[in-house]
Structure formats: C-alpha cells, structure tokens
Symmetry: D3
Subunit: 268 residues, 6 copies
Amino acid sequence: MNRHIAELAGPTLASRITKDSIVVIPTGAIEHHGPHLPLVTDVLLAEAVGSAAVERAAEEGLEVWQLPTLAYTKSDEHSWALGTVWLDAETVFRTVVEVGRAVELMGAGTLVFVNGHGGNVALLQVALREIRKRFGLKTFLMPSLAPAAPPAGEGLDEHGLGIHGGAAETSLVLHLRPDLVDLSLAERWVPEHLADFGLIGFNGRPVSFGWLSNDFGTPGVVGDPTQATAEYGRVLWEASVEQAVASLREISRFEHARARVAAGPLPA
Amino acid sequence: MNRHIAELAGPTLASRITKDSIVVIPTGAIEHHGPHLPLVTDVLLAEAVGSAAVERAAEEGLEVWQLPTLAYTKSDEHSWALGTVWLDAETVFRTVVEVGRAVELMGAGTLVFVNGHGGNVALLQVALREIRKRFGLKTFLMPSLAPAAPPAGEGLDEHGLGIHGGAAETSLVLHLRPDLVDLSLAERWVPEHLADFGLIGFNGRPVSFGWLSNDFGTPGVVGDPTQATAEYGRVLWEASVEQAVASLREISRFEHARARVAAGPLPA
Amino acid sequence: MNRHIAELAGPTLASRITKDSIVVIPTGAIEHHGPHLPLVTDVLLAEAVGSAAVERAAEEGLEVWQLPTLAYTKSDEHSWALGTVWLDAETVFRTVVEVGRAVELMGAGTLVFVNGHGGNVALLQVALREIRKRFGLKTFLMPSLAPAAPPAGEGLDEHGLGIHGGAAETSLVLHLRPDLVDLSLAERWVPEHLADFGLIGFNGRPVSFGWLSNDFGTPGVVGDPTQATAEYGRVLWEASVEQAVASLREISRFEHARARVAAGPLPA
Amino acid sequence: MNRHIAELAGPTLASRITKDSIVVIPTGAIEHHGPHLPLVTDVLLAEAVGSAAVERAAEEGLEVWQLPTLAYTKSDEHSWALGTVWLDAETVFRTVVEVGRAVELMGAGTLVFVNGHGGNVALLQVALREIRKRFGLKTFLMPSLAPAAPPAGEGLDEHGLGIHGGAAETSLVLHLRPDLVDLSLAERWVPEHLADFGLIGFNGRPVSFGWLSNDFGTPGVVGDPTQATAEYGRVLWEASVEQAVASLREISRFEHARARVAAGPLPA
Amino acid sequence: MNRHIAELAGPTLASRITKDSIVVIPTGAIEHHGPHLPLVTDVLLAEAVGSAAVERAAEEGLEVWQLPTLAYTKSDEHSWALGTVWLDAETVFRTVVEVGRAVELMGAGTLVFVNGHGGNVALLQVALREIRKRFGLKTFLMPSLAPAAPPAGEGLDEHGLGIHGGAAETSLVLHLRPDLVDLSLAERWVPEHLADFGLIGFNGRPVSFGWLSNDFGTPGVVGDPTQATAEYGRVLWEASVEQAVASLREISRFEHARARVAAGPLPA
Amino acid sequence: MNRHIAELAGPTLASRITKDSIVVIPTGAIEHHGPHLPLVTDVLLAEAVGSAAVERAAEEGLEVWQLPTLAYTKSDEHSWALGTVWLDAETVFRTVVEVGRAVELMGAGTLVFVNGHGGNVALLQVALREIRKRFGLKTFLMPSLAPAAPPAGEGLDEHGLGIHGGAAETSLVLHLRPDLVDLSLAERWVPEHLADFGLIGFNGRPVSFGWLSNDFGTPGVVGDPTQATAEYGRVLWEASVEQAVASLREISRFEHARARVAAGPLPA
C-alpha cells in the first residue's frame, strides 16, 4: 500500500488516517559537507532511512505514513560555506509547528521527525513540546543515522568526533549514492584536542557549547572521511534502518501515562 | 552535466556558479485537489516542468541550475480540507527570502521560482522585490503550467474557470503519473455564474477578490476534470516545458536597464 | 447622505451598517513620481476616484461607505528616492488585516480596496484572502486608474510601459490638481527594450520579475509624461470613476457560490 | 509656501529639507466618542491643530513641514465599540518607526507627532526614543489639545476627568465642524468616584492604571459633553494652536546638550 | 506569613490566591548609573521598596503578594555604556504580558509593577492596558521612588532634572547599600539649559522628547549626586515606602466603575 | 573581590572585564514542583550552585563574573499548574540573545548559562549557537545539578526517571532551604512504564519525545521525593558545585580550534 500521504487524494484520508496513524517527516539540510560529499547529504540520508523504515514498518502492520521531506532547515553553523541554504531558527520552528497543525487536522495522532542534520536537534526538541501542547499530537524525534561498529578489520579513529562529513556519513553516501562522493578529496579533520575535555563536548556531555563549523580550524568537516568505506556504509544503513523501525515500533505502543484502560487509581 | 546544485559538493560551486548563473526552485503545494487527484499535484507539476526545462535549457547552453523543491507553501485557501499542509504567509515569505539570501551568497545572480500553485503567486511577487532589494538578485516567477488548446477533436468547456483540479491539471497528472489519478471520481465543478462578472475574476480582470476553495459551493475543485485526457496532458506538457525554456532564454538575456555596456547618457 | 463612516457617531452604525454594506478604503502611497508630479499622486488618485465612485454608487442606491485613506503603504521600490515614505510589507499587511478586523466588527459584509499604487497590488491580494479567511468578509481590490484611449488627435507611445509617473498618471493629476504638476520638468523615460521580451513583463505576462524603480536606468519614472494633457486626464477620470462604479455594482451582487437562495443540489 | 511635503515633487526636497527642518505628523484615531461625536474626532483635531500650527509657525519663519495624518492608530481601549478601527500596538509602533526612517532619509533633522488620541501617548513615547536611537532624529510628541479655562460665565464640573468625548473635545468639534455634533444625544458620564483616589489617576498621578473605555460603567464617554459650547471650543482652539506653535518654537531651538558651538569642556 | 509566591508550593495557591489578591512585581534595570553608583541601582530600589511595601501592607491586612523581580528591562537609552544589559522594547513587552497571563491563571485579580527605571514607564503603561484587555486583570504601575524634600539644612539644586544617578537615587543607595556607592567619583551633571524650556521636558510637561542618556553632553548621569546624603536617603526611603503602601491601599479598594454592588441604573 | 557585575559601577568594567572574562548567568524557573517543593526550586538551585561555583572559581584565579538570574523562563510544560509563570519560547530566546549582545559589548569573551530547569535546555542550546554567531562569544550551558550516588545506606529507586521534583531536587532544597520543603506532602510518582522503552526516553536516548508534565498521569511530579534526605542533598550539593567549578575550569581553557598560538599549518 502506498504510504506516501501526498500521493493520495485528500478525501481518501478520511478512511485511512486515524488517531493511531503515525506520520513520519524526514528533515534534512542543504549544507556544506566538505569537498567530498554533496550538499544534499543530510536530505539523502533522512529520506532514505525514513522511507525504508516506513516501508518495513508498514509491512509489519504498523500504521505509519510519510510526508514530503523538509530539505531546507537550520544550517546556520555552515552559513559561511558556499552552497549552504539555511533558514533562520524562527522560520524552521514556524514551519514544523504549522506542519504539525496540518497533521493534527488530517486526523493523525502522532508526528515523527526522522532527522538527518544535527543542527536541527535542539530546535526540533523545542517544537516537539510546542506541537504537543498546541495540537495534542504525540511527537517524536529520531536520528536517521544509528551508530554501528565498523566491519571486522576496519578501525575507526575519530575519538567520537566524527559528527559532520566524517566516516559514518561518508560511508552511508558511498553505500547509497556512490556517484555523489569524491573520496579523492576527503581529508581527515578531527579536532582531537576536544577529547581533552571531560565535561564539555558534543553529545552526552554535561556541558554544551556553541559552535560554527568553521570554528574548528578545519574546512567545515568534523571527522575523518578517509576512513569511509561502502562496506561500513552498508553496515550503518542496516543499523540505521533497523533502529528507525524499532523506534517506530516503540512509538506505536507509546503512552505517556501508564494506561488509558487500566482501572483504579494511580499509585501513590 | 549535473545541474542539481544540492548534488554537488559545496566547494565545487566556487568554479561553477557565477553572477550569470540562474538558479531555479520549483514551488508546489501539498493540498486538496479533489477526489481524483493527489495532494502532491502542484509539487509534481512544478518539479517535473522545472526539471525538464532546466535540462533542456542547459543543453542549449544556458547557465541554469536547480535547487530542491519547496513542497509546503501557502495553501490556506484549502486548509479546510483533509490533507492540505499549509504554511502561514509569513512563514513562506521568510523561507523564500532566506533561500534568496543563500542563493546570493553562493554567487548566483538570478533566482527563478517555477511555481505550480496559484495561491503562491501574489506572495512570491512580493518576495521577488524583497529579494531583489535585499540581496541584489534578479528575480523571476513563472508558472509551471502554460495554456494550450486541447487536441483536435477535444473541446474544453470550463469558461476559463478551470483553475484548480480541472481539465488541465488533471490531464497533466494523467500524462505524468496516471497511477495517481482516479478519473472515476472526477466531477464537473465549474462556478459558471462567475462568468457573468465582467470586471471581477480570477486572472487578468481588473478586480481581484478573496476566496477560499470551499467558497464556491463545490468540493474544493474549480474546473471540469471529466474533460481531462492523457493526450491533452501531453500537449500541455510540451507547451509548459517549452514556455518554461523560452522563459529561461529570456531571463538569461534580461537586463532591467537598457544596457550595461552602452556608452553615453540615457535618452531624455 | 454622508457616506463617510468616520464622520458618523459610532452608535449610529448599528442602524446603518449591515452585512450588505460595502466599505471602501482608498490606498495610496507617498512616493517619488519624478520631478513633475507630487509625492501624493497615488493618494490623490485613489481618494478622488474612490470618493467619486462611492458618491455615484450611493446615488444609485448601492450600500457603499467610505473609510479614511491609507496614505503610507508599500513603496519599497522607491525607497531610494527623497520623499518616499514606505512601510515594510509586514507593516502594511498587519495594518490592512487589522482594519479588516474592525470592518467585520462594525457589521459590514464587504471590504473593497481602491488602490492607487501598483506596488501594493500583490500584497493586498494576499490580504484579500487573509481577511476573508479570518473575518469572513467578502474582499475586493480594484485599481483607481482605468485604461482609456487618448482623445482623438492625441497619440500614446509608451509601448504599454507607462506604469509610474507616465502619461496617464500625469494627465489625471493635471485634470484634478494642475497646481501640483510641473510639466516643464517632465521627461520621457520609457524602457523600450523591455518590449523585446515576450514572456517577461509588468502585467498580464506569464513571467513576473522583481524590480526597483531605479533599476531601469531612469530617474524613477517609467513612462512618458510629456504626452500628458489635461484633456486626456479628463477622459481617464471619467473612465476610472465609471469603472470603479461598475465594479461596485458587480461587487454588490457578487456571490462566490452560485446561489444562496437556489433550491436543489449543486450540479455534478 | 506650501508646507505639505506630499504635495511637492520628491526631487524638490533636496533644496528644501535640511537637518534644520521640522516634520510634523498629526496622529489621530477612528474611534468611538459617544453618541454625540463622530468617530473621526481625534483625526479632526490633530489635523486641524497641526495644520494651523504649521502654517503659523511657517509664517514666523520656522522650518516646519507637514506629512499626511495617521488616522488609524492604537484605539484598543475602544475596540468593543462599533466603528472603532484600532491597530495593534506593534503595528502602530512599526508604522511610526518606519515613517521616522523615511523622514531621516529625506534629510530632515526633527520629527514631531501632534497627537489627538490619548491612547497613543505611551506608545509614541516609546517610539520617540526608538526613532532617535535608530535614525538620529530629534523626536517630539505634543498633544493637539491644550487646556484652557471656559469662558467667563461658563463653569466646568468634570473633576478633571473629561478625557474622552467630554466638554473639551465636544466644544472643539462644535467650533470646527458643528455639522458633525449632535448635542441632543450628549450625556454626562463622569466617573466621579475616581476623584476619591489621591495616587491613582489618569495623568500626572504617580500610579497609572490599565483601563478600557467600557470599564467605567459608562457608554465609552469619560466626561460631560453637556457642558460643551462652541464658544469654549473657540477658546480651546486658540489655546491649542497657540500652545502648538509655542511648542514648535521651542523645538526649533532645542538642543539636548548644552551647546554645539560652545568651546571648552563640559562643566564638572 | 510568607508573601513570596515563589516560595510557596504551587498547589498551595489554590487556597491563598483569589480575585482579591494583589500581585506585586518589582521591575528594575541593569544599567549604567555613572561612576559612583552600581549597575544594579534600579533593581535594588525597586526590590527594596516593593518588598518593604508588601510586608507593611500585608501587616495591615491587605491581600498583597510578591513575585520575583524583573532585573533586565528596557534600558536602550544607556546601551552605549559598558555594563548596561538592555532588552528590546518588544522583548520586555512580551515578558510582562506573559507574566500577566500567568498571574491571571494563578487566580489573582490585580497585578502591580513597582518600577525603579524611568525608561520602562511608557512601555509598561502600554502593557497595563494590554494585560487588562487580554486577561482581565486590574493593572497598575507605581514608581519605587517618591519625591521628598531634603532634610532641614540640606538644599537641592537640580532644577528638577535629577532623573538618573542624581541626588535622590544616590542618597537612597547610600541609605540601603552604602558599600556600593563611591561618592568620591560623583560629579554634578545637570543639563541646566533644559530648564529654559517651558513646554518641553521630562515629566509633566506637555511636550515629550526622545533622548539617549549620552545626548546631554554628560557621562550618562542626569542630576547632581554630589548633593546626596545618607540622611536624605533615609527620608526618601520612608517617603517611598509610605507612598507605595498608600498606593497599595488605594489599589485594594479601586474599582473602575462606580460600584459593583450599587443598585439602580448608572446616572445619565 | 565582588564578582557580581551588577554591583559594580559601569565605568569600572573597562578595567575588569576582558575577552578572558567568563560571565555566568543562572537560569531558573518559577514553576510547579509538586505539593512539597516551592515554585522557586529551579531558581534557588541555579542561583545557589552558580554563585558558589563563581566564588570558588574566582578563588582559584579564574576570571569569572556573575550576572543576575533569569527567574522566568520556558516552563510551558507546567503551564497547566497554578503558580507556574512561563514565558513563550520566542520571548526567552530573545531575552538570552539580547543579554548575550550586552555581554559582548561589556567586553567579555565568554557567556555561561548555569541552568536549573530542564525545559530550558534545548532552547538554550539553540541560543548558544545564535549568540556565538551574532556576537562572537564563546557560549556554554551547564546544568546546576550534577548526578551523585546517594549516601551509603540510602537506596534510590527512581529508574532514572526522577527528573522533576524527585529525590534529587527535593534533597537539594532540603539541604539549602529546608523551611521551603514539606515532605509530609511528598508522594512517589514514577512513570515506571517508561522504563520499558529502550529507544524513547528523557535523556541520552536516541528518540526524544514531546511531553507536558501532566501527561504522565501524575500531579506534575516525575520522581520519588519520598526518598529525599538532607544528607543526600548535601552530597548532591557538593557534587554539583564541584562539577560546576570543574566545568568553569574547562571553559576557561577551552578553544574551538586546536591552537591559537601553534605555528604551522593544520594537519591534513
């Protein structure tokens, strides 16, 4: 069954979309990814993973649907670089909140962003609450890319700092669209000195910091694309799609409160 | 040569994009088009015509390039209908102006919207001036759909009122994606009484009027899709792509002032 | 009867304004019109035509009323020129939408902008829909100036490019306020090369373009005021008022849907 | 000499407007003033006083000029009443700041609002600073109405609470446009109990309070129009124009700092 | 009883806050006050006077409560000076209106700003009406500082121009926090020439003017802090707290309309 | 030395604040924390930890300074609950960005938010980048509360779900302000079913979700305050201040790029 909402006629939705329906929107970016990767990298990954996950989840019987990808998003950390098409934070926020408004009106109960661009995460988290509060939807944000160990025999030496145009993203594009990668231009740009900080860091560290992609003394790449391989891309692809499907499974049974149907009072 | 900017690496643009470059962005809509056409109709037409025109124009030697389509736009006249994903006027305006900002920074001199949704026209016209004023780009707006007479033997009886989901749009989708059309659900919904007005009207009349698509006592369709045929779609397709290419030709030689190079004073 | 709403006491409106009432607001501009015409030109024409049309229409029995003119509007294409007082697009949009809010609350059913400044057209068209959607009013936009052939014996050689400070506007001000015109300073500034474009153009062409009034290599005039005469002004005045009255007649009987009163279902 | 800037051709300003020029803009309101006064009252008074003051001041040799009146302003305290056309605070603020931008660009050094509507005062005071800060203009706000004692033999018993539609405003309209007043509908609506408060009050009291015009248990009038006379109107008119002219005289010699020309250091 | 709302548990409010409750919020500023006073001066005074007044008023049995102070406000007239932390007018407006929204939801009927910074007055006056209109609260604005004559034997020679960092503010900080004052750096900066203007002036004059604190040819001080004494500070403190308490007494019995309980019609 | 910037005179900053200065602003919230904790909880913790950390860090020789706390922030997830004073996301964003603007102008090079309210985290992360981009500051966000194991003999059974009003926050307030805690009203409200989800979760999980604090079928508490003890509060206090000081140490030596001083090219 076609799970692309946009390819249906509007009146058809009345019989297809219900409060149990989960609407997935990939969010990418058109932004600088170094000399070896295309500007469309984040769109490509978000859309590929999102579509594959929706397809597999639908085959499993989940009530998942897909809307067109948001290609232009909040890429202000790369605005210094040729080719980045960034929108202001407020513009992206308005866009996703207004999309949420329409998703509620089409009858769905859940909205999921499958996001390929790290620079969108914090803003989309703000939007998750805003959309829930204003329109009552359940809202979720998941990354398009899941972590995975490289294949046996391959090492990975990025100190956990391969966050933009590094081994993982490059491998995935090699897997999906090798024609868009020019590995001959890939260079290692790992800000290794950041590993000296125990509290400050990109993710999962207690102290966040503001950065632009040209802050690191690198050409806007943070990671080591020279370690990328199509085989690692395949591994990452499988891990990413599988995590996305697993996430949709959890989402489909997620309730904020313990139980809608449970009798009796909540425990003290 | 690949004319999709997003599929290039950012640094590559330095040697490809110049002030003579013309950047084309299709603008569509995800909105109700009646029971017989998909929500994606306007996106489909804008993207298909835009891409085909860029390809042909590039083959002719024009410096044309393409950026990803804006799918979600100003569809507030259909917001009452299931499946329409509309953004507020201000959100769309911010988006296109900020895209213009990025296009100027990537070095291009001209920005062209190939627009598939009539509800965007006035707002994009406002944006043409704003982008020109703020970023100095030459800016243009062209429709994806050009008028064409039906093939010999076919009549067309819409009184010029087939503006949304009517014979033309339906024929074009029949030509491009017949799997997305269900002609069995098509019905004639022509607000014929509007033809009684000599001054008030949709286009080219001196008096404009505000309307929502459910104002007309119809199910959100204005036109007669029952007159659609794949053959008329083919005719329209050729006319539309040809007009788009011809427009790009004119754009490529367009100067606001008489001459950059002419010596001497302007005539009095 | 006094049709100036602002000259009535508020409580009086309860017995005068009904859903059948048509409220007319002239919209002008304070902007550069060349060395021969006053900044107030567009205000003058919109207000004169609007008032005369309301008066004549009222005499015919139409339920028309007038509100004070908006003098400062969206003149950003002339902001480079001394004396232009332009507002940002958003400011004008907010203003007219909020005026629409008040018109709905005073009980009227229809709001009409009689507009003297071409730079307002696209923005006001966006507002027509917004006001209709938010406040339920019927909304219309008409130009203050109607086209007319020059009197016998006079030619007109502007190639259809006399859009700002040209023969028509100058003639009308000569007719209405000759003390404000200095024809000795009038010069011909027709960007004749624009006539070479078949698709790109100011009005009624398929391809719109963004422009500022100093783009054309002229001193902010587009047209040939040297061809202006008071006699042509008189002809234009009559044509303009007549078209405005005729438009009000159509507006007074305009229904979006076929019929409020018609029995039976809409046709399939 | 014509002091209406809008009636001049733009290029003329280059030789007329200098940093010493004082630009006056009347600001009124279209709002409920009770059953006896027209909606246009505040526009009428601001424009009449402003114009008369400009004319007299110009005759004295002051470099004063006038721009068209802002009719629609911040009348939200009367928005409950038929006929009030109010704009939001932000809309009015944007408008006057953007007008200030244009006044600076036309070369003037000073901008003066002659204001007929009390509900604008606080917002315009915020704007005075904003315009000074952003555009460097000297900015002033003066009321159109000056206080004056009634003629001998007439008493005034409003407890200083005649702030809207009371004796003063009604008398002035009787003086200027008696055809717009219907004294037979005037009633006394003085919230006398407010005089019991020593600290809270409308003007000049240390404690301000928020109010809407229907808060007072009256029909939106605060004052006693039954005490209005044309003769008192004449007295007020002279006092108001004289105060406005005297204010323009002070403005024309006003310097924030002690002296531009004084030699030597500022005193400690 | 603790009158600091923020120190209560939320559910407790249900039994404490009613429509008769008066919520007081001090509003200060972090801004330049010359070389002799701390940036926190206005916060210090607003919070000290506000707290003392709430305490005394509560002891008298008034239903007064306090919320945390707004420290950062509209100090744009001092933004040129090191250490000023100013917010834009719109940001402050949004903040206080949204605080008003929450105060209404917690069940109170009255909101009072005790304001220590003159630059906030006009904006807060706009907000008083906005909050009343949107949320129905009674709203008030009072200054933290009341005027008082200096003690016997002390003169005051500021010509009424001691509005920022002058004798009064300096004396009060000397009284409350002498450790934060360095009188050895205090200098007299009185723009005495302003006293020559009879109509233009800071307060209570008919003509307002826009100013920045560096307009006066002084180092951002307007007044004569060399005349400050701790004893005058004590006098001002008592006067200020007493006026604030007296204001709260009036506020607690204030009704816009004559009487909620009075029988019979309002007088004509 | 006094590290409270607001207690200094503005001109003093010229000799104290340099690009090496680190400015710390605590950010709290006035929001519902259940029946046992005060609304001020997050302000209390952010301010106490922030102040203690600044003091200790200054004693160590770090160039740290403190600005007044932002008490009202983004608490929209608790807006349903009495006493919550929440600001809209845009208002908080504007506020912190404008504070950043002032911090840059006072000469500092680094801005640090010590944040006591989880609901601010994503929005402040967006602001970190915005402030860095617009004003060039280094920007950081750290939590006021650090994790710590309970003292020996105490267990903790919150499944990692004690995020609002649970054992940790309650213990800390018991340690700092026991007079503001009423443990007799504390109840366990742990949404244990959320522990069943492996991918969806509050922190550190790949899938974020939107929630309001009344979504969980609990009274706005998420955690088990009955497990709180003053002794655990003491442990948490030490851990939190220590982590904050350690964070400031890292911040004081943090460079985005490898080295300002290093000679030679960056490695390829």
